[in-house]
Symmetry: C2
Subunit: 648 residues, 2 copies
């Protein structure tokens, strides 16, 4: 069957983990609609302790400490959990990804030996205490302090004011026993920038440790099963050996040393080792999106409304062009992101999977793509799940049909693990500086303006299937009318050309701003912020299309290839159509060709209409996981009604 | 103060009701974040009985029966309740709008005398039982039957199968004592189309009446305080005098008579009298949007993140161009819809406020605008509240900051009281047929294709401030470059021209489809559905801009006029910018002018930046109603942090 062949293509490199999760996790792990907050927290707290670790959730831990050193596997496992219950996925992500991952990445061998086993086994549940009430995006400016005192050989961890309290911290309100706490290290009277400590926050009875104040973030829009909370420290004494000191050591006498001289560079190197969180969020958002699309597409196959003149049965929603216009481009985009995510996870595994330090260029490239794809996938999730909700009408508003949960749970994904707009700035900055000296990714507007002046000649770096893409691009006969609107080389050229032109334009505008507004660095950048952000989206669109093109090559047969090619046409052309204003403004489309793009999109919708069900079946979400009332009832109801009407 | 002058402009014709609600309803009526479903239902059930009726909620009832016959006042009162608690607004809308409104509009004088007082006083809480599980949009095809038997002089009300059960019905799960039930009337063995009956569903003890099965729709995404449920009837006997018989009477012997011969026409006339529900939903959605914008704009004034090189304080979010790009166009659009809604409510009051039947042309026009503005305002709400949530970061995800509730509660507005896509079809159909014989608004695709062939020469009917708009349009020197991008006449011309051209194109395509696909009427329409829907949005955009232009005239002083003019520039230009692809395709913008539009939009953002706070303060939402934690805490936190940093 085509849907099974497509499933195998989508399952990709971590097929074993995907299959294991599908087989091992049943109804017990599926989200329960309509729970109270307390019920949800209790259930998720119980389930996280019951999750079998052989489904990959702990695979990123070092081979010697209960894992297999496979970063990719842990991302894929989390993505699979997202189909089941997003609270469970986030709770698992906090425990094994953020908390455990920070101990792995920032701790030393002794700390690994002391804690990792208990972390994997959920003997110790923990927090990743970075964000503060006053600083979310600009984490380099955290206000919590941790001052070393050689006399006692302890650190004094302190929250100086309310804005410095740790906020929105998963596992803090209820279950967390320890926390990785990020704070400004001060030793020898000098600030050394943000570092992390492993700090007990609750005792064995679940009561706060002395000096630690724990609060509840209170009811949230979604993710009810995650106990987000607040943590404040009142001069808490932390032993010297609890500093996670891989990137900065404090000797007994307070002497500070680090393999990385520059504070900013060190901080972003530390953050860079934690990039997996972002990759995980993007993947989970896309899984939730595929689940919503599965529900809406299947509902649209059986739900009928309005009768055409002369017809007997009412018309299925999926037969309406307006309905196809909603669902099919979103489906095509979801395939595109599935391929782009698979490639990103592969890069993560390859770059961070070695024993030595990651190659710096590759690491920066990885961080940029992780940031960009996280932003694009989470926005796609927000828009698409909302659209699916509406496509199911009133039924989509009922919790029993899963869409409200998918929507509410993923909503925060656009602003956590990095606010999307800030992440796109990070991507843009990488592009603007040609990945050179601007390392220091989240430090605001100022610096990049000056670096932009030295930007090198832009050569876009191709990602997947380089040779194939080069061949397709080279085969385009030239600009304009003579090439078919469905020519893949033309799509690739359009995407590349837009990225290059937008980027060069941004650089030109920054330079001209820098020349006239030397004393107002914020204005230089702020005046073109919208243009700068567009460089990022154009870039991510291009690498997404390239990943789709490469993904099609992996399809086993001509039927699957043909279907994926049509879907890729739809993805490429709806991206072009959505930005046709830009392409027309810049002479990349004539008005006639622009109209032809819209006409061909509508043709593609008609051609793909019969494959809608196949395309969602290929996501291979077990029926038990969908747990959606309208999918169980609707066919029956429609048949009963049709039979009744026929008899009446 | 400018904000107070603007408030008075926005308060408009029903200023007295707005002021009364602001003064009389305090903290007790404000939404409580984080409640369970049961708590919310209990609270709302209590509050609806405590709502003082002198704040306008019952003003649409006839003067002789406890109201003042003021349809507009009741819409405005509901809009004000939307600021407080959307569950309360919807519960009130179900009780006094849908249920009570149906008894008023469809019932006779005897029924008015018997029930209206108890309905106003909440002695009888009631349901509007129209939607069925199987039919939401296509309500003419309801499957519930009500068969008259002359022998017993009763009707037999029956649910033939599960898809015919009444679904999503407010007040059904818990509080409803009676219901207005819509069903197919059958008398003398002949079907007479959909009619409505007043039917007791619960006895004095709250138990279901014999033959009535009541269910709970279960947990929903939002509106937790509204007890939506399901109702089925097992051959329930309904006395003859419970038929709401204004538009169709059944004599003792079963003889049917009606002032309107045609079944379809009668049905849509009946529906037309209930148009107020749609007007109310659009207004409430916009109120929730203004509340979300108030929160996001005020947070963006005090929340600071990232420091520019050489600067001391961090930068306020509202100073970032990207943040302005999110908030300000949404704010401008919200002003535009506030003016359009005020005009629509005025039309409703004027058209339906007389003692005799409404003028047919005016009534159709009213229904079309109610449908279109409901769709556009509710989508604007969904997009804007989501954007405000993101603009507040993690804080926006906490229930204590109101945005999750505003989002979840308004979410269903895009599909209830008419699915937005279906509503836009209704608008388009009105435009296509020149409001002629196509009356029969929601009956699917088929018919209009044939009517379109007879479409008259298009003359766009101007709405508000006709003379002023004509003067502005006439003053435009000609197409193209010579007129300023901020020229109001040019904006009006662009909006009008787009509407006319899109409409004429749709007609041309329908005609050509009709010529070649005579035997496939569904295809004729479906092939151009996207084009047809665009005629509706272009139309509503145009009447919205005209309402904004007319609204500016009502501003008292030059300062307010100047501010509103700038905001109207931003509204008009962001609409043009969002659709620049179309304008470029059709030669209405040159590439250079299209780029100029974007540049001027950015200029306007900078110019409007200092007025952001003023613009939301003019919404005049009492501080007590906002009840938003970040608005209470944030300024303090920022000051403490700044003071601390300065001292450190």
């Amino acid at each position: 069957m085509v849907s099974e062949a497509l499933r195998d293509v989508l399952d990709g490199r971590w097929v074993a983990i995907r299959r294991a999760v599908r087989e091992e996790l049943g109804a017990e792990f599926v989200a329960v609609p309509g729970e109270t907050g307390d019920e949800a927290r209790e259930r998720i707290s119980r389930l996280i302790r019951k999750l079998p670790t052989d489904v990959g959730v702990a695979s990123a831990f070092p081979a010697g400490h209960g894992g297999s050193g496979d970063q990719g596997g842990s991302v894929v496992a989390a993505e699979m959990l997202a189909y089941l219950d997003l609270s469970l996925m986030v709770k698992a992500g906090v425990q094994w990804g953020l908390f455990g991952g920070a101990v792995v990445a920032l701790g030393n061998e002794r700390q690994h030996a002391a804690y990792l086993k208990d972390i994997i086994d959920t003997e110790i549940l923990g927090c990743f205490a970075m964000t503060e009430t006053g600083h979310g995006s600009d984490v380099q400016q955290l206000r919590t302090t941790c001052v070393y005192d050689p006399a006692t050989q302890t650190f004094d961890l302190h929250t100086p004011h309310e804005a410095a309290r740790k906020d929105y911290i998963g596992n803090a309100a209820r279950d967390g026993r320890m926390a990785v706490v990020f704070a400004q290290l001060i030793t020898g009277g000098k600030s050394r920038g943000v570092h992390a400590w492993l700090v007990p926050i609750r005792d064995g009875n679940g009561d706060p440790m002395p000096g630690v104040t724990l609060g509840d973030a209170g009811p949230k829009a979604g993710l009810l099963g995650v106990d987000n909370g607040r943590i404040s420290f009142d001069h808490v004494s932390v032993p010297r050996d609890m500093l996670l000191d891989r990137y900065g050591q404090v000797a007994e006498d307070g002497t500070y040393s680090s393999p990385i001289e520059n504070d900013t560079r060190r901080f972003f190197t530390m953050l860079g080792t934690l990039v997996r969180g972002r990759v995980t969020v993007g993947g989970a958002a896309s899984a939730a999106t595929r689940e919503a699309l599965t529900i809406a597409v299947r509902y649209g196959e059986t739900r009928r409304q309005f009768t055409a003149p002369g017809a007997e049965r009412e018309i299925a929603l999926n037969d309406y062009l307006a309905h196809q216009r909603k669902l099919l481009p979103a489906l095509a985009t979801s395939y595109a992101y599935a391929f782009a995510q698979e490639e990103l996870v592969g890069t993560l595994a390859d770059v961070q999977g070695g024993s030595g330090p990651a190659d710096e260029h590759q690491q920066r490239e990885l961080e940029s793509r992780a940031a960009g794809l996280k932003a694009m996938q989470t926005w796609h999730a927000t828009h698409t799940i909302q659209m699916c909700r509406e496509a199911c009408g009133g039924a989509g508003y009922l919790a029993e049909n899963r869409l409200p949960g998918l929507k509410a749970d993923t909503d925060v994904f656009t602003t956590f693990e990095g606010d999307n707009t800030v992440l796109l700035q990070l991507v843009a900055k990488g592009l603007l500086t040609g990945y050179r000296d601007a390392f220091g990714s989240l430090d605001g507007w100022g610096r990049a303006t000056f670096v932009a002046e030295q930007v090198r000649e832009m050569v876009l770096e191709r990602t997947a299937a380089r040779a194939l893409i080069q061949r397709l691009v080279s085969a385009v006969p030239g600009r304009g009318e003579e090439v078919a609107v469905t020519d893949r080389g033309w799509h690739l050229t359009m995407f590349e050309d837009r990225e290059k032109h937008v980027l060069e334009g941004a650089i030109r505008r920054l330079r001209s701003g820098a020349a006239t507004k030397k004393d107002r660095p914020f204005e230089i950048f702020n005046d073109v912020q919208d243009h700068v952000l567009k460089t990022a989206t154009a870039h991510i669109d291009r690498i997404t299309l390239e990943a789709f093109v490469a993904g099609i090559e992996r399809a086993p047969g001509t039927a699957e290839k043909a279907l994926l090619n049509k879907l890729c046409d739809l993805y490429a052309l709806t991206v072009i159509e959505a930005d046709k204003g830009w392409f027309l403004e810049h002479g990349r489309l004539t008005p006639a060709r622009s109209k032809a793009v819209t006409a061909v999109v509508n043709d593609l919708l008609r051609e793909l209409r019969p494959s809608m069900r196949t395309l969602v079946d290929a996501f291979a979400i077990p029926e038990e996981w969908l747990n959606c009332a309208i999918l169980r009832e609707e066919p029956d109801r429609q048949d009963v009604m049709a039979a009744h009407d026929a008899g009446a």
